[in-house]
């Protein structure tokens, strides 16, 4: 799909739009539709998509807020998810990639967050949500669904310089040798509460950030401001998808 074709899609046409869509419009972003989701494909720049991939490898910021995510909480949640053939992390504050490429994050002993994959290959989140609705009465009633689509924005900071950015905004040591693949920190980022998950895109470091959706524009502006000295910039989902799919 060319940029001209993707730009015809407006984020306002979607049933659910990103809390950052006004920012993307300011940047004259190119949008694309994947399933029910409208995402930023790329931002206009001098070169082609390869330029954006290079930015993402160095320091990029991507809005993933329209991608599906959900959560479950309550006594027996890990066991219930394990019975649904999910690999549940043993330790709290760790993430486990599933064979379907969705990501399961254990936030505490009885709380799990589920993120869909960047390539839209997995139906895990939709399936679990449907299961939660259908089986509301049948599974242990102490387990309850925590829909995360409308409570948290979802951003990704990518690139080898990403940890330099976090050292300015976060008190937790997120350097690569301390905060390894699959590590999770629930902490304060730019004075706002956030869940930070290390989930690399092959060899490119990648940090997912989930934070209160009402503060999405604040956090987006803070991150862009902090990354300006490192020549970081917003990148579209296509760059991340390329990095995720390249072996």
């Amino acid at each position: 799909m060319t940029k001209q074709e993707t730009n015809i899609i407006a984020p306002t046409l979607a049933t659910r739009r990103s809390p950052l869509y006004r920012r993307h419009l300011q940047y004259q972003a190119h949008f694309k539709q994947v399933g029910d989701n409208i995402v930023v494909d790329s931002y206009p720049n001098e070169g082609a998509i390869n330029d954006e991939i290079e930015i993402a490898k160095s320091m990029g910021l991507c809005d993933l807020s329209t991608l599906d995510r959900t959560g479950f909480k309550g006594v027996g949640t890990p066991q219930w998810l394990a019975s649904q053939s999910f690999k549940v992390p043993v330790l709290a504050n760790t993430a486990e990639e599933q064979s379907s490429q969705s990501l399961l994050i254990k936030l505490s002993a009885q709380e799990i967050l589920v993120l869909s994959d960047l390539l839209f290959l997995s139906e895990d989140v939709k399936r679990l949500y449907q299961k939660a609705v259908e089986n509301h009465q049948s599974y242990d009633q102490q387990i309850y669904n925590l829909p995360r689509n409308d409570s948290h924005c979802w951003l990704a900071v990518t690139g080898i310089n990403a940890t330099e950015l976090f050292s300015k905004l976060c008190a937790v040591d997120l350097r690569s040798h301390k905060f390894v693949q699959g590590a999770v920190a629930q902490t304060s980022l730019a004075k706002t509460n956030a869940i930070i998950i290390r989930h690399d895109l092959n060899k490119t470091p990648c940090f997912y950030i989930l934070s209160d959706i009402s503060g999405a524009e604040f956090l987006w502006d803070c991150l862009l401001d902090a990354m300006s000295e490192f020549h970081g910039a917003p990148v579209g989902l296509s760059a991340l998808q390329t990095l995720a799919s390249n072996q």
């Binding site: 937790v172 629930q186 902490t187 304060s188 509460n193 956030a194 869940i195």
Partner: protein, 100 residues
């Protein structure tokens, strides 16, 4: 900045935490008098020395307990509530009544 160790998240800046007040064992709500309930809810010991307090790690909404010396502001230890709460209050409430 002061640091506090959360049992779930580890050592963090004190600005990530919210103080939740003194810990008091919850009275049995079936037998406690109104006076004792008022004591439990509204009155505090304000002990000078080692006390147990509720704290919340705000980014994860994780409530835990801390033993703290109010004279020296030294935190002796932090621990999860399941050390003191061995059974669910909800389970206690929904337990079928037995007839005499």
């Amino acid at each position: 900045m002061k640091l506090l160790s959360c049992p779930l998240n580890g050592l963090r800046n004190i600005s990530e935490f919210t103080y939740g007040g003194e810990y008091h064992p919850t009275p049995d709500h079936q037998t406690t008098s109104s006076r004792d309930w008022a004591e439990h809810v509204f009155f505090h010991d304000n002990t000078a020395g080692i006390v147990i307090e509720w704290w919340c790690h705000t980014p994860s909404s994780f409530w835990f307990l801390a033993e703290r010396n109010t004279l020296t502001d030294e935190v002796v230890r932090t621990f999860t509530p399941d050390e003191l709460y061995t059974k669910s209050i909800i389970q206690h409430e929904t337990k079928p009544e037995t007839t005499p």
